[in-house]
């Protein structure tokens, strides 16, 4: 249809200017003149895995505090700084990273850079604001607890890991949120919010040289800090299947299994991504993706085995790109009137089958096409493009995202089959059930 670059080809690596300032700040700029917008993301290599005992949830709480005004942005002027330019802003904390984003009209570029520079070294941590935010965060935690699948995810993750700090949830454990102090928050902020632990990404209708000058103006004055401590814990290999069962009032049963999986830099990562796509349809590598293009899963193995047969109302898989080895998740909602045991029987039989018999060339061809499309959908718009650059920079280097895309044609049936056999072993998995006990839910309306 119409003009295209090379028809159907995977896009070549984008033109990204990578610079490191004297203070260690990594800067990635990509010009994209399709809309009069710019997206600025500031990334820190600090996530929930970097939290010590008693401080679970501190990274996320710090993220919240970093929207509360700075030495040069009074508290009451935070509101509207970006909205005046029609923009949106946000932040998130995950296991390996914390990220802040503004996307707005190009006129706001300097404003966005100023905000991120302020956030890096001038946040206030007013004790009253810390206390007020404590209850906001506990409210966020309790909202999550209302969701049985989220509780199951926490329990299964905490069971799958014995030592590695990926075991605790990003939101933190309630006891830590109740006892943490303002100084704990501020200390964490000072330790990790330094230019040599950060990546600034700018994508949009910008001029690279001018943007780099403005970045130097705003960030060049910030001093480097001592290199932050890094997690060195290596999770011991799992040798036995583990199980958790949550019996709680509710209406619906949920099944989940997690398998220890390779880090994003491991050569087995991409083959295992193919395994997931064959089981569940390709969901891509953008955990932010605002567009929400549904996963093409109706011809996938687990969907046909479980959902089409009426045992489950949904099934999904997730292999997330992470710095250290994380988990491959398969999750399913048991259909009303069906049983956890029936879902588990079919699920485990399918997982055993792919581990034993491998995959076919036709399946690899299909999911390769799905992943190729997914890379296109996941790069629609300045915000998502900038997200992918920064996200990968915090776990492995931004080029890896494009390398993975370029390697799609080379992944072989044997590699995919080998990944299934290596990771989808019974002794590598933790299985979790939510088993509704007794009456749950609201009384149905008349």
């Amino acid at each position: 249809m119409g003009k295209r670059t090379a028809a159907g080809a995977v896009a070549g690596p984008p033109t990204v200017r990578e610079t490191v300032l004297d203070n260690g700040l990594t800067v990635l700029v990509r010009e994209l003149h399709t809309a009069p917008l710019a997206s600025v993301w500031c990334w820190y290599k600090v996530g929930s895995k970097d939290e010590g005992p008693g401080l679970t949830g501190v990274s996320h709480w710090v993220e919240h505090m970093n929207f509360k005004g700075t030495r040069n942005i009074p508290r009451d002027q935070v509101k509207g700084l970006i909205e005046q330019f029609g923009g949106t802003w946000n932040g998130y904390t995950w296991i390996d990273q914390t990220a802040y984003i503004e996307t707005a009209s190009i006129d706001a570029l300097d404003r966005m850079l100023f905000i991120e520079a302020e956030r890096m070294d001038a946040c206030l941590y007013d004790p009253a604001d810390c206390e007020s935010e404590r209850t906001v965060i506990i409210s966020e935690l309790q909202g999550g607890e209302n969701d049985p699948e989220e509780r199951l995810d926490q329990e299964v993750t905490a069971t799958a890991y014995k030592t590695h700090p990926y075991r605790h949830p990003t939101i933190g454990w309630l006891g830590d949120l109740q006892s943490m102090t303002r100084d704990d928050l501020y200390g964490h902020y000072r330790r990790f919010y330094i230019p040599n632990n950060a990546t600034l990404v700018v994508v949009g209708d910008v001029d690279t040289d001018e943007t780099l000058r403005r970045i130097d103006h705003h960030f060049g004055r910030i001093s480097a800090g001592a290199a932050p401590p890094r997690v060195t814990t290596v999770e011991p290999p799992q040798a036995v299947e583990r199980r958790v069962v949550l019996r709680r009032p509710g209406t619906t049963a949920y099944w989940r299994a997690v398998f220890h999986a390779p880090a994003v830099t491991d050569p087995a990562f991409l083959p295992l991504l193919f395994v997931d796509a064959i089981l569940n349809g390709a969901s891509g590598l953008n955990i932010w993706n605002g567009h929400g293009v549904p996963v093409p899963q109706r011809s996938a193995r687990l969907y046909r085995a479980l959902v089409d047969r009426g045992l489950a109302s949904s099934v999904s898989g997730a292999l997330l790109p992470t710095e250290h080895p994380y988990l491959y998740t398969v999750a399913s909602t048991v259909a009303d009137g069906q049983t956890l045991a029936a879902v588990e029987d079919v699920m485990l039989a399918e997982l055993a089958r792919i581990a034993r018999d491998g995959v076919t060339e036709a399946e690899c061809t299909k999911v390769r096409a799905q992943l190729r499309a997914r890379f296109v959908y996941d790069g629609d718009g300045v915000t998502d493009i900038a997200h992918q650059l920064g996200f990968f920079q915090t776990i492995a280097g931004w080029r890896l995202y494009h390398d993975l895309q370029a390697r799609l044609p080379q992944v072989t049936v044997d590699e995919v089959s080998a990944a299934a056999a290596r990771y989808l072993r019974p002794d590598n998995r933790t299985i979790g059930w939510v088993e509704p006990a007794g009456a749950g839910g609201a009384v149905p309306a008349a």
Binding site: T103, T252, G310, V376
Partner: protein, 424 residues
């Protein structure tokens, strides 16, 4: 950059809108049909919702597996959803696949078969979703609020149905629903992406041109006067960690002359930055909630203007008092000049972001088509927002915002006060 959509009406009455956008080698397509939950037969609430789940599970000569294979082999996504008034089939695919995807979409929309076994399987999925929603305080709060605020009105009927009503829907009911509501006149297709407008018109004409069907007349939405009194309904879910509040008022229709003023007013009340005035009070100053916001659901008829918040049970009364206070203040005084300017600048300034991606442009053009806002709505919208005055906002606030007519549902570990009506 202003949009430059092409609008074309096929001889059978189907409207086609095409916007070229070469930013990525992909296409977003939305097909919108004038068939929604308002068309659900009495006692069979959830018919449109179930039709959306089954419609792409079989068409003449293609079973569900064959349809899935065609889409999945291309990494194309097709998702069908039913709203109150319209059913939408949204497709995302690579540009090279748009012809095949459109041909398939036409078969799905025009000649669905609703196979018996598929109806049984997808009905059980919908029932599972309904059962999950019964255990979710946020869903419970909104559903009960809508049922009470719009008692006796089509908007008071759940668009997803109830377990009992859904279990009464069979294949014959879905086929009857399709026959009664699906027709090219009143339907619209929006295509946005890396495509050639002239050529894609031909593809759509080939795929949809033979569609001959007429639908029963669309009934006007009855008026929805505000309830005569304030109601507070507690739905105790004592095993939950947090309560969800849904605080509903009757809003206005998208075509109401006061719509744009209400849009600006709602932005200041419960949207701007983190939740406008409501967010300032309940989240920022009082630290009671992770989320609090208001939403204006202006559609064909007067949908609700409602506030949502998730708070600890201990803070329910204080939250309701704060919402009452903010709403009363805006009703009495309107918003400040600064708030007016900020919200207007935001709504105008955010337009380029809304129109950045294929999916964003498609949603915008479809909204303009469905509500008759004009093919140049992206160009007239800034002027319409800019023209809203403080007096307009004050007038619409006085018209819509009145705590004395609020319908409030609190779902979660809160058993209510003496003033709260018992839920049953």
């Amino acid at each position: 950059m202003p949009l430059s959509p092409h609008r074309h009406i096929l001889p059978n009455g189907l409207t086609l809108i095409v916007q070229e956008n070469r930013a990525t080698p992909a296409v977003s397509a939305v097909i919108s049909i004038a068939a929604g939950a308002v068309d659900d037969p009495p006692g069979r609430e959830g018919t449109a919702a179930l039709a959306a789940r089954v419609i792409d599970r079989g068409s003449t000569g293609l079973d569900a597996a064959a349809i899935a294979d065609i889409l999945d082999a291309r990494g194309a996504a097709l998702s069908v959803s039913a709203g109150r008034h319209r059913l939408a089939a949204a497709c995302t695919c690579l540009a090279e696949d748009i012809d095949e995807v459109l041909v398939l979409a036409a078969r799905v929309v025009i000649t669905p078969e609703f196979p018996e076994h598929e109806v049984v399987t997808r009905r059980a999925e919908l029932v599972t979703d309904l059962r999950e929603a019964e255990d979710d305080p946020a869903s419970v709060a909104v559903d009960r609020m809508m049922a009470a605020l719009y008692e006796g009105h089509p908007y008071g009927r759940s668009p997803h149905g109830h377990v009992a009503s859904v279990e009464r829907i069979d294949a014959a009911a879905l086929r009857a629903f399709h026959a009664a509501t699906f027709a090219p006149a009143g339907a619209a297709i929006v295509l946005v992406g890396d495509l050639d407008a002239a050529r894609v018109v031909e593809v759509v004409e080939r795929a949809f041109g033979a569609w001959r069907a007429s639908a029963r007349p669309v009934l006007p939405v009855p008026p929805s006067p505000p309830p005569g009194e304030r109601r507070l309904i507690a739905v105790p879910m004592m095993d939950k960690a947090q309560t969800d509040v849904a605080y509903g008022l009757t809003g206005l229709a998208r075509s109401d002359p006061d719509h744009d003023a209400a849009w600006v007013m709602n932005n200041a009340l419960g949207q701007y930055a983190i939740g406008g005035r409501l967010g300032d009070s309940i989240r920022e100053r009082q630290g009671m909630a992770y989320y609090v916001y208001s939403r204006l659901d202006a559609t064909i008829g007067a949908g609700p203007l409602y506030v949502r918040a998730g708070v600890s049970a201990a803070n329910v009364e204080r939250t309701l008092a704060s919402i009452d206070d903010e709403i009363s203040t805006v009703a009495r005084e309107g918003i400040t000049t600064r708030e007016l300017d900020e919200s207007k600048r935001y709504l105008i300034g955010s337009l380029p972001r809304r129109l950045e991606t294929n999916a964003g442009i498609a949603a915008f053009l479809m909204e303009a088509e469905v509500f008759g806002l004009g093919l140049d709505y992206d160009q007239v919208l800034p002027g319409r927002i800019a023209a809203v005055t403080a007096g307009d906002v004050r007038a619409v606030a006085a018209r819509l915002l009145d705590p004395a007519h609020a319908t409030i549902v609190v779902a979660g570990p809160w058993a209510g006060t003496a003033a709260a009506g018992a839920a049953s």
